[in-house]
């Protein structure tokens, strides 16, 4: 089967930055997985492969017999007498061939099904596991690195399953069978062959080693060249404005030439392997012929399992077997690279699979309720628009606390990395319907606070309570459902505008989504899009402006209709004029909700009930806008523009 560079990613996978590190235990795990996914098909395939390997190794036995028949009859030229014997062997061979064809058709089809099925299951398992990983994982790993599990590593397993494994079983079996048959014919001749094979192994090691060394260098210079191209292509407009074209070309050319040199050496070595192995095979073939001739002529006593004497009818099939043997050794040698890369790939995939998923010990859940005449709450199935926390207690009782949006942080300490505290002793009380703003320089800990409220990260010390319930007791999905977030960096998903708004609440009707868009002030521009709400967004909505993307993100949060909203620089990319329009929507959106606002523009936080000024993880000032201005502290300085925020 031809090698297909999957997904147009031409560079050999698994070679990036000296990554190939063979971890054969991972390989074993991958193979085990294959057998677990296909407990019946996989063993059946192995049987088919072995059978077909066995059959393709045996013709030499028949050839030997047929040549013996020829030898017996050709001096008399009596075809009539030879014919039945020849035909008997030929038809036997034909039957075997038919069986071999059947089994090889079966196993190649099975392999095609299993390879893709395996990759699909593995891909889904990886993806599913990834969804369950804590946010910390995504914050501490580069996205490119995570992507490479899907684009590179899984593909290395494709080569393993579809090619290397069957080849290994098949060629391995053929080599074994042929080897036994050779011993059956003649020890001496086998010995000559072994000597040749040892030489071939040696050459593979030297040439293959050189090729691997330079391929790693090539990958490194490819990455460097890519870096230079990326930087300069990104900055192409700056290059033009500064007439810096010639200098860019020179900087690029240096890397390009280096890449070429390493690539040339790597490929020269790699190309060498084919002709060298091939011709070593040829020389070995000749050597075996000569050796056979010498044995025949000198009449050395043959040593063999069969005890048969050495003759031309042994030599002819033996030469054929020598070809087959070296051919298969060659095939095996060529799989080594695949196998090493696949073990590296498997190792990386399993490192992701072994990452512990986000734990959730929460048992307090969010349910729909209706209020009974006596003021108590009763759980219902349908959507009532009224929510409550269902709180089972240790003593078996059950209480319902209405969802109000009261969030309190009490003396919270937090560090992303042990020893590097990001928040110290932070206390924030947000009553239902209050607007709390955080102000401070980049890195002061504003976003961190919001990360703790929705439990993207867990606090080190202190308490966070939501409607009086410790957030650690609340099931994460329910906690997050009760909190809407709009982030500075908007992420939209491939799909229509409507799909993207509905992401906030999957069962929202079209009308509800439109209503949310109107609230956010997004309806206006959406209806002017070529397909309106049905306009497809791709690539994170590149066809929209940054401001428009943010408006959709706001609508998405609005449709979820949560009692608490977190707005992290939600309007930073909207120009002030548009913001004035959005502000009305935002004001409506914030009405009656507890809102945490982080904003760069102080004009957006001005009307908050309470403003917290953060500095290096501590709240240094708190109070209303008027109070803080009157105090003439840090907030006052920021507000009057005496300080730069970033």
């Amino acid at each position: 089967m031809p090698k297909m560079p999957v997904g147009h990613r031409g560079a050999p996978a698994g070679m990036k930055g000296g990554r190939p590190k063979a971890d054969f235990s991972a390989l074993g795990r991958a193979i085990k997985k294959l057998f677990r996914y296909y407990p019946r098909l996989a063993p059946l395939t192995v049987v088919c492969i072995l059978f077909s390997a066995g059959v393709s190794a045996t013709p030499s036995l028949f050839i030997q017999n047929i040549v013996a028949v020829i030898e017996r009859w050709y001096k008399t030229g009596d075809w009539a007498s030879a014919r039945p014997e020849v035909l008997r062997y030929v038809s036997l061979l034909a039957v075997l061939y038919v069986l071999a064809l059947l089994s090889s058709t079966a196993y190649t089809q099975l392999m095609a099904v299993m390879t893709q099925g395996f990759l699909n299951k593995l891909r889904q398992e990886t993806f599913d596991h990834m969804q369950d990983l804590p946010l910390r994982y995504f914050d501490t790993h580069q996205h490119g690195e995570i992507m490479s599990y899907y684009t590179n590593d899984i593909d290395t397993l494709r080569m393993l399953v579809s090619q290397s494994l069957p080849t290994f079983i098949q060629s391995g079996a053929i080599v074994l069978v042929v080897f036994s048959i050779m011993l059956y014919f003649s020890f001496w001749m086998t010995l000559v062959l072994i000597a040749g094979v040892v030489a071939m192994f040696y050459v593979t090691k030297v040439v293959g080693g050189g090729s691997a060394r330079y391929f790693i260098k090539q990958q490194k210079s490819l990455a460097e060249t890519e870096g230079v191209i990326q930087e300069l292509m990104n900055g192409q407009k700056v290059v033009k404005v500064f007439c810096h074209e010639q200098q860019s070309i020179e900087a690029f050319r240096k890397r390009n030439d280096e890449l070429r040199e390493n690539s040339r050496k790597a490929n020269a070595y790699a190309n060498l392997l084919g002709p060298v192995m091939n011709n070593l095979g040829n020389i070995l073939y000749v050597a075996m012929g000569l050796a056979g001739g010498i044995f025949l002529l000198t009449g050395v006593r043959n040593v063999s399992l069969s005890g048969m004497p050495f003759s031309i009818s042994v030599l002819v099939p033996f030469l054929g077997m020598a070809k087959q043997f070296t051919g298969n050794v060659n095939t095996l040698a060529q799989q080594i690279n695949n196998i090493v890369m696949a073990s590296a790939g498997a190792g990386r995939i399993f490192s992701l699979m072994d990452e512990p998923p986000e734990t959730d010990d929460g048992y307090v859940t969010l349910v729909n309720v209706k209020e009974l005449p006596d003021g108590s709450l009763e759980e219902t199935d349908g959507r009532t628009g009224k929510w409550a926390w269902r709180h089972p207690h240790g003593d078996g009782t059950l209480t319902y606390t209405p969802l109000r949006g009261d969030v309190r942080l009490v003396e919270v300490d937090f560090a992303y990395e042990e020893g590097k505290d990001v928040l110290h002793d932070v206390s924030v009380y947000a009553e239902p319907g209050q607007k709390v703003a955080f102000v401070g320089a980049t890195g002061a800990g504003k976003t961190t606070i919001t990360n703790l409220i929705n439990r993207f990260y867990d606090i080190a010390d202190g308490k966070i309570r939501y409607d009086g319930i410790n957030v650690n007791k609340i099931r994460k999905s329910d906690l997050r459902r009760s909190l809407g977030i709009v982030l500075q960096e908007t992420n939209l998903f491939t799909g229509t505008v409507l799909d993207n708004i509905r992401y906030g609440r999957l069962d929202a009707s079209d009308e509800e989504c439109r209503e949310a868009a109107r609230l956010a002030g997004a309806d206006d521009f959406i209806t002017r899009l070529p397909e309106g709400y049905g306009t497809m967004l791709t690539n994170n909505g590149t066809n929209l402006s940054q401001g428009q993307r943010q408006l959709i993100a706001i609508a998405r949060a609005a449709v979820a209709d949560p009692p608490v909203m977190i707005l992290d620089e939600a309007t930073s990319s909207i120009d002030t004029r548009t913001e004035a329009i959005v502000q009305r929507g935002m004001d409506k959106l914030m009405e009656g909700r507890t809102v945490f606002v982080i904003a760069h523009r102080l004009s957006t936080v001005k009307n908050a009930d309470v403003i917290m000024v953060l500095d290096h993880g501590r709240i240094i000032e708190r109070g209303s806008h008027e109070k803080l201005i009157a105090e003439k502290g840090t907030y006052y300085q920021l507000y009057t523009g005496a300080f730069e925020l970033e």
Binding site: T76, M147, R480
Partner: protein
């Protein structure tokens, strides 16, 4: 693959034509010897069978070994020349593309995203390099091997070679059929697969949103259905390709049975005079060679089809003509910093429905300070980009120093018109290296002077390495405000006649912003200054403020005038000053 694409790409082969042709020659040699080997081996077997003297057998063996060595040498030399040619070709392709992009105008750049240019120069070139290598090694090798092996088979085996008459068409037809069916299937799978990877990327990037909305299960379901659909298609494609190997086996087996039966008959009935036992094994050998060469041909067919897409994408870049070039007999001196727009309209592409700018008439005297305000998409950036001729007007004309910008040498014009772009960038390298983009020959004093003017000198000195501080790619190790001030300093180093700041102080605090503007007034009074801003404060004291909306200048005048008569201006002003000054 289209001929035009091949022609475009072949233009980059240049000095590597020689090693490429040499590779072809060497491979002819390699194949020649390789094919002779079974022919003489057959003789050797026969000699042994006929009890020929050992000396004769050894002599033949020696000759055979020599042939193998000759074939090996040719092959090894070809390995070198082939690597030389293909990697050299790849280097030239990258170089040509990069150089071509450097000559692109902004309009050209807009057509290709920078990410796609990176892919074209890396992955696509690698694909073409691989295909090229395959072609020069195998495209000659396979047909030659095929012809040689068949010829030898007929010379040696006579009637035995008739087997090929049956087998070759079957295999060839089968391979073509498989490739025909499999390729479209694979192509569609690859497209879907790229989409799947994109959606994974989207998921990883948006993980905060996914988790924020507790959409993990939703994402899993979405992914599973996309992955399953790929699996179905992929399996279909792979199953078609999987027929290859049994088909090949079928032909080999048929060949084997035919040669054994007919061969045995010929040997026995002619008493070994026409052919002998040795020829049987040689014929089996030739059979393998013939079939393998067909297999290789089908492989390059697949390889070429896969790389065709890449080749097309490369040739698109190479064939793109820069839409904007300096005229012959260009003007090489910009007399002063005056700017005139006369009846200017502009669209980004001919097919665009709406004008990005309409009916712009504007005169800016040399040395004036002009502020531009307006909402997103109102045409502010578009307007200023016409001044250094980053785009050409659709209608009307833009003049700098009284001369149409299209008459200038573009380098001269752009050195006189210094622009700080909205999407600004520093490059990896030291601060002083970055600043010297403005003027390569600038002295250290000049760098510091520019930085003082841009209010950057203080913070640069505060860095441990001062002006030799290393800037990471994309300038991630300096804050937004610092980056903007460095970019202004870099632009100032050009000592331009016109300085354009496109929203270049948005992250700078108001006090520093004011200091920068005050510095401009004092130290570079003759330079024409155009300032696009979000903050009214940044443009309030300009000689003229332009209010833009929907690609038109809707009003112009001084602060006081506009405050009085222009609704939009008043609205922005009040919003920003209401209850205190807005802050960046």
């Amino acid at each position: 693959m289209k001929a035009a694409v091949i022609k475009t790409l072949a233009g980059s082969l240049r000095e590597f034509k020689k090693p490429a042709l040499l590779t072809l020659l060497l491979i002819v040699g390699e194949v020649f010897f390789e094919v002779l080997i079974p022919f003489f081996t057959a003789d050797m077997v026969n000699m042994i069978k006929a009890d020929a003297p050992l000396a004769e057998v050894s002599a033949l063996g020696g000759r055979l070994a020599l042939m193998a060595v000759a074939s090996l040498l040719c092959g090894a030399a070809a390995a070198r020349t082939c690597a030389d040619a293909s990697t050299g070709f790849a280097r030239n392709l990258r170089d040509d593309m990069f150089t071509r992009v450097q000559s692109f105008s902004f309009a050209n750049i807009d057509r290709f995203s920078s990410a796609s240019l990176v892919t074209r120069m890396t992955t696509d070139v690698t694909n073409v390099q691989m295909a090229f290598m395959m072609v020069i090694r195998i495209a000659v090798r396979a047909p030659l091997m095929f012809v040689f092996a068949i010829t030898m088979a007929f010379i040696m085996g006579g009637k035995l070679a008739l087997s090929f008459v049956v087998v070759v068409p079957i295999l060839a037809a089968g391979l073509i059929l498989i490739a025909r069916h499999a390729m479209p299937a694979f192509r569609s799978v690859f497209r879907k697969y790229d989409k799947l990877n994109q959606s994974i990327e989207e998921n990883v990037r948006g993980m905060r949103v996914v988790k924020g909305f507790s959409r993990e299960e939703h994402e899993k379901t979405k992914f599973a259905s996309a992955a399953d659909s790929i699996c179905v298609d992929f399996t279909k494609a792979e199953r078609i390709v999987a027929v290859n190997s049994p088909l090949m086996q079928l032909c080999m087996y048929f060949n084997m049975l035919f040669i054994l039966t007919v061969g045995a008959r010929i040997i026995v009935s002619t008493r070994g005079t026409v052919i002998d036992v040795g020829q049987i094994s040689a014929m089996l050998n030739y059979g393998m060679q013939v079939l393998m060469s067909l297999m290789m041909l089908s492989m390059i067919y697949v390889m070429i089809t896969i790389s065709a897409e890449s080749a097309k994408r490369i040739s698109e870049v190479l064939a793109e003509t820069p839409s904007l070039t300096s005229p012959d007999a260009a003007v090489t001196r910009v007399s002063d910093g005056s700017i005139d727009f006369e009846g200017v309209s502009f669209k980004y592409s001919e097919s665009a429905e709406n004008n990005a700018l309409s009916d712009i008439d504007l005169h800016i005297p040399s040395g004036a300070t002009v502020g531009i305000l307006g909402g997103t998409g109102s045409g502010k950036t578009t307007l200023v980009q016409l001044i250094p001729r980053l785009y050409d007007v659709t209608e009307g004309s833009v003049k700098v120093g009284g001369t149409d910008v299209r008459c200038y040498d573009t380098d001269v014009l752009r050195n006189a018109v210094s622009m700080v772009l909205q999407k600004n960038l520093l490059f990896s390298g030291t601060i002083s290296e970055n600043l010297r983009w403005g003027s390569e020959s600038a002295t250290d004093e000049e760098l510091q002077e520019a930085c003082r003017l841009a209010q950057a000198d203080d913070f640069v000195r505060a860095f441990p390495d001062g002006y030799e501080t290393h800037i990471e790619q994309g300038g991630t190790n300096v804050s937004g405000g610092q980056k903007q001030r460095l970019c202004i300093a870099r632009a100032l180093l050009k000592k331009p006649k016109i300085l354009i700041l496109d929203d270049s102080t948005s992250a700078v605090d108001t006090r520093t912003d004011a200091l920068i503007r005050a510095g401009f007034k004092t130290y570079i009074p003759e330079t024409t200054k155009i300032i696009i801003a979000q903050r009214v404060a940044s443009v309030m004291d300009a000689d003229m403020i332009l209010i833009m909306d929907n690609g038109r200048i809707v009003d112009r005048g001084r602060h006081e005038e506009l405050l009085e008569r222009c609704g939009i201006y008043r609205e922005i002003y009040e919003q920003q000053t209401n209850g205190g000054e807005d802050h960046a």
